[in-house]
Symmetry: C2
Subunit: 330 residues, 2 copies
Amino acid sequence: MITMTEIASLTGVSQATVSRVLNGNSSVSPETAKKVLDCAKEHQYQPNFIAQSLVGNKTFLIGLVLSDISNPFFAELAKAVESEARNKKYSIILFNTDYSLEREESALEILKRYRADGLLFSPASWSPEVVEKRMQYDMPMVSVTIDMGKIDSVYVSHFEAGEKIARHFLKMGYENFIFAGGKDDDKEKGFLSGLSKDGVNLDKHYFYIDSHDDDEMKTNLAERVCLAKNVGIFAHNDIQAVKIAEILKELKLEIPHDAALAGFDNTFLAKITTPALTSIAQPIEEMGKLAVERLMEKIDGVDKEKCVRYQLDTRLISRGSTIKSNKFID
Amino acid sequence: MITMTEIASLTGVSQATVSRVLNGNSSVSPETAKKVLDCAKEHQYQPNFIAQSLVGNKTFLIGLVLSDISNPFFAELAKAVESEARNKKYSIILFNTDYSLEREESALEILKRYRADGLLFSPASWSPEVVEKRMQYDMPMVSVTIDMGKIDSVYVSHFEAGEKIARHFLKMGYENFIFAGGKDDDKEKGFLSGLSKDGVNLDKHYFYIDSHDDDEMKTNLAERVCLAKNVGIFAHNDIQAVKIAEILKELKLEIPHDAALAGFDNTFLAKITTPALTSIAQPIEEMGKLAVERLMEKIDGVDKEKCVRYQLDTRLISRGSTIKSNKFID
DNA sequence: TTGTATGCGTTATCAC
DNA sequence: GTGATAACGCATACAA
């Protein structure tokens, strides 16, 4: 890997001149320019970003810290982010946290060491303490998928999504309800709110299943779905929904006849299952693009003090998994 | 972000001493050590990897250049690679090429500029010219998923996979065959070889569909499947297979009755479709891990001149999409 | 237009 | 045990 200094000695000019030629900002005589350019091309000169970063205090690196890249939702998000970042001449350092706060923090530390210009992340936690901690983290950052309140965020309302599913279930005539997910999920809160508004007696007709334990999930599902008929199950994401669909199949329970099922994210998974899965669509590409754009702004110091929060719209995509009569299946 | 020099002036020692304390290799007096350590902790000192890279000629960055992160196969591969790299103290710069050679080369150029220590990639092309070009690219690298011959590779035999599907189709009694994929795919060659071995008249009973054009694919499928009965379709990956399944559904053709369908990769997609999809499983995690390990070796100069090629085993996972009698569905 | 000199934050090689 | 000092590859202010 040839350096400017080497090109300088090869062409008999100073390193400063080489720098000027290669960056093309300052003025140089056509002859020396040509000489230098030729030499650079001949030896396939590649600027050293590391050295440039050191002097320029800018790495053109942004961290992308995601909960689970193997989840198609995040994979598609990563794709959108990579594409948009590339357009803006930034490169991406990728971290997968497996929803672990510890791994998230380790990733942030590493990014700090690399002096990344910014951070895009799907937070593992958004408790007040964590938000406070992240705000101490001195780096432009944008939360994707979750509203972190005092931190710039691009997200959809999970609460609203929960309400939408609740309304849909009620409209379809379901009378018992299950939410399968984590405990601090706004989707559950919205789901409950939606059910309550309609006067559903939650104590009797609602059941929460912690989705972290597969065995427990199976037991609970078997019990609940067999016990109460006319059940609508809301899973916190499509992957979870697909898992539940498998369990129901094992239990010889039919969707939507024995239990309706709805997911979240509207990944392509939702389209390919049988019956197709009702889900809440997030505008993934738009989220990725907006998040990168806002991050670039922050990096460039635009409205640096402001905390910009974009809440994007979700759409209920109803499919066969919640619609009993075949004629309504899209 | 505090620097060593700043800590030095704060504690009244030289920057060199701060470096010694923080790296803990050379000997320093306990008192100065404590002084420096306290100061570093108080100001949350974070070593500057960029500066370290510049002097050390090592970035601990490796490029991960993938064809399509939104494909669950690559997403899972990325997950495995990230995890393994993290264990080894390396971080990952991610690029998505969308199967474009141009984008691949642009990614490689950028990685060169960042002075990445190594490269892991799923090649967009493995023609002799491209292989030759990559060999000029002066950076430790390992090809994943594809055998690049003169370049270190971790892969499965696509040829063999094609043969396996052919044998499976023949065993199941199919008599007409379609391959849907790209033109330079060893899977097709293996598929043809497998069919030929059994004496299938390829001119009459084999048809190739270019999977790049969705419309053309639909037309061809409609024509071929309706024309010839007892058809076995082999798609170059699960995503493609799922697309074909959708098309067949639109055409009111039933799987496997009107046409059998097999995919490749055995991603979780294969399990969740109805009927479940017969596919060829690649050991994704092992591939990712092995690739990282070999790359680390190359970076460390172990068998640097050697070209190590790991061919891993595939497994045929037969499911309902190719098995007509229900009792055989797993 | 061009060259010299300095600094970015480290590590490492010297001396003392 | 500790402090100068020189690199690493580059950008840039200052001179010439």
